[in-house]
Every structure is written in structure tokens, then in C-alpha cells.
């Protein structure tokens, strides 16, 4: 199936604790299945820091116990293969919503990507067959997000995933 990259640019992180509502544009992105049966497989995450001074930022990628809903917008999503025919249903992504995502206290830390946002980078690539998966579009299997636990660095980056 088709592989996509969801990108985000120059986002100033707002630190958020587990099980607390994220702030619009204050986290990198969420990624949610486009239907109750859609599976997504995340195989790469990249973060590049753009802060003008030292700003250690602890980013967490993991599942959300409350999923984003209503008036969703923000970020970019592009198919990677130029000749891919877009499926009828695509994943939902963004950094703005009426119902804000909340990082799960138990499943919300699948991957820690800490970096100093003063020019630092953090990149993770999955081993083939060991991608992080989501299933459906509801908590807690249906959405993952990338957000700051501590630190307010400015970051850009992408999450590469496949719609299965």
C-alpha cells in the first residue's frame, strides 16, 4: 500500500504531561487512522531543531488515550511514491483540533527522541517488520502523536508511515 510522509515545520513545542490536553500548534503532529479498520505502520521519524539558543527538548512518540477530533487542521501529508494512486481513505493528521489529543500515561512513550533544539537532530528508523502500528481511529490503538514532555524547542521534521 501507499507510503506517506506527514511533515511539520518550525513548531514551537509546549511541554505537556501524560493524559493532559495538548496545545494547538504546540506539538509536532498526531497521526490517526482514517477509518475504524485502517492500519498504519510508522517506520521513520525525524526531528531537526531550529531554536536560536540551547533548548533541550524531550520528545515522546506514543499512543494517545484521547484522540483528536473536530476541526482538524495543520501539517502536511504527501505520498512518497510518485505513481501511487491515492486510496479512497487516507490517514488523519494535524496539530490543531477542537478535541485535543492526550498522550497515554501507559502507552504514550513508545519512543523517546530527545534533542537539543539548538541545531540538534534526532532520527529513528524501524527495523523492517518492526514498525510501530496503529489500528482504527479511536483510543488507544488508533492514534499516535509526537509531542514534548519537557522543553520548548522549535522543531521541524517528518513521520513516514504506510497505510496498510
Amino acid at each position: 500500500m501507499a507510503r506517506y510522509s506527514v511533515g511539520f515545520q518550525s513548531k514551537t513545542m509546549t511541554a505537556v504531561a501524560d493524559a493532559n490536553a495538548m496545545t494547538d500548534n504546540g506539538y509536532a503532529t498526531f497521526l490517526q487512522g482514517g477509518s475504524a479498520t485502517m492500519m498504519l505502520k510508522v517506520n521513520e521519524i525525524y526531528l531537526g531543531g531550529e531554536s536560536a539558543a540551547s533548548n533541550p527538548t524531550t520528545m515522546a512518540f506514543g499512543r494517545d488515550s484521547t484522540v483528536a477530533a473536530t476541526a482538524i487542521s495543520g501539517n502536511f501529508n504527501a505520498v512518497l511514491d510518485a505513481v501511487t494512486v491515492a486510496p479512497g481513505t487516507v490517514a488523519v493528521y494535524g496539530c490543531v483540533s477542537t478535541t485535543k489529543p492526550q498522550r497515554s500515561a501507559t502507552l504514550g512513550h513508545l519512543l523517546q527522541l530527545s534533542l537539543n533544539a539548538y541545531g540538534g537532530i534526532a532520527r529513528w528508523q524501524a527495523r523492517y517488520g518492526e514498525e510501530i502500528t496503529t489500528y482504527g481511529a479511536s483510543a488507544s490503538l488508533g492514534e499516535v502523536s509526537l509531542s514534548s514532555v519537557t522543553g520548548t524547542g522549535i522543531v521541524s521534521g517528518h513521520v513516514i508511515y504506510e497505510v496498510v
Binding site: A36, S54, H109, A122, A126, E131, Y135
Partner: protein, 92 residues
């Protein structure tokens, strides 16, 4: 000739890079694997001496938390099996 690898370490790994050299700090690279039971990404500490637990049920390395649960006698249950259960509930 057949080569047998007997060190028990996972192979064909994922990759984590954290490069903070622009801020005068370190460049860190490490292999990773994903726990088949909970899908946490395990960053492999090259200084670790303790063995990494390989689940006999799914024949895959799992994280320390899941290894502790497994050691109490809990059965092997992979994340894929959990998703299959949710999917079958959705179908019924």
C-alpha cells in the same frame, strides 16, 4: 559452510541517531529493536552486560518490562495478536 551465530543478540536492527554537535554536545548512534509484545522501541545500550530476553513464544527479543511480566508466567501475546483481537471484535 553454515555460519551459526550464538551470541543471542538481535540482528538486522533499527537505528537511532541523536546529533547535538551543533550545540556543543554529543553525537549518539544506537541500534534499536521493537518489542513484539508492546511495540516500545528499545535503544540498545552498547555497555549493557545483562542478557536481552528473547521470548520463547514469539522467538523475538522483548523489552525488560514485558520480560518481567513474562517471567511471572504470563503467556506470550504479541501486539499483532492484540490488534487481531480488536479487528475480530470490530468484524463481529
Amino acid at each position: 559452510m553454515t555460519l551459526l551465530i550464538t551470541d543471542g543478540l538481535p540482528r538486522g536492527l533499527g537505528y537511532l541517531e541523536v546529533d547535538n554537535r551543533a550545540s556543543g554536545e554529543r553525537h549518539f548512534e544506537a541500534d534499536t529493536y521493537t518489542c513484539t509484545h508492546c511495540q516500545r522501541v528499545v535503544v540498545m545500550n552498547p555497555l549493557r552486560k545483562r542478557e536481552r530476553y528473547k521470548c520463547g513464544g514469539c522467538n523475538h527479543h522483548i523489552c525488560d518490562d514485558c520480560a518481567a511480566v513474562r517471567a511471572t508466567g504470563a503467556p506470550c501475546k504479541t501486539w499483532a495478536q492484540k490488534i487481531d483481537e480488536v479487528a475480530s471484535q470490530n468484524r463481529s
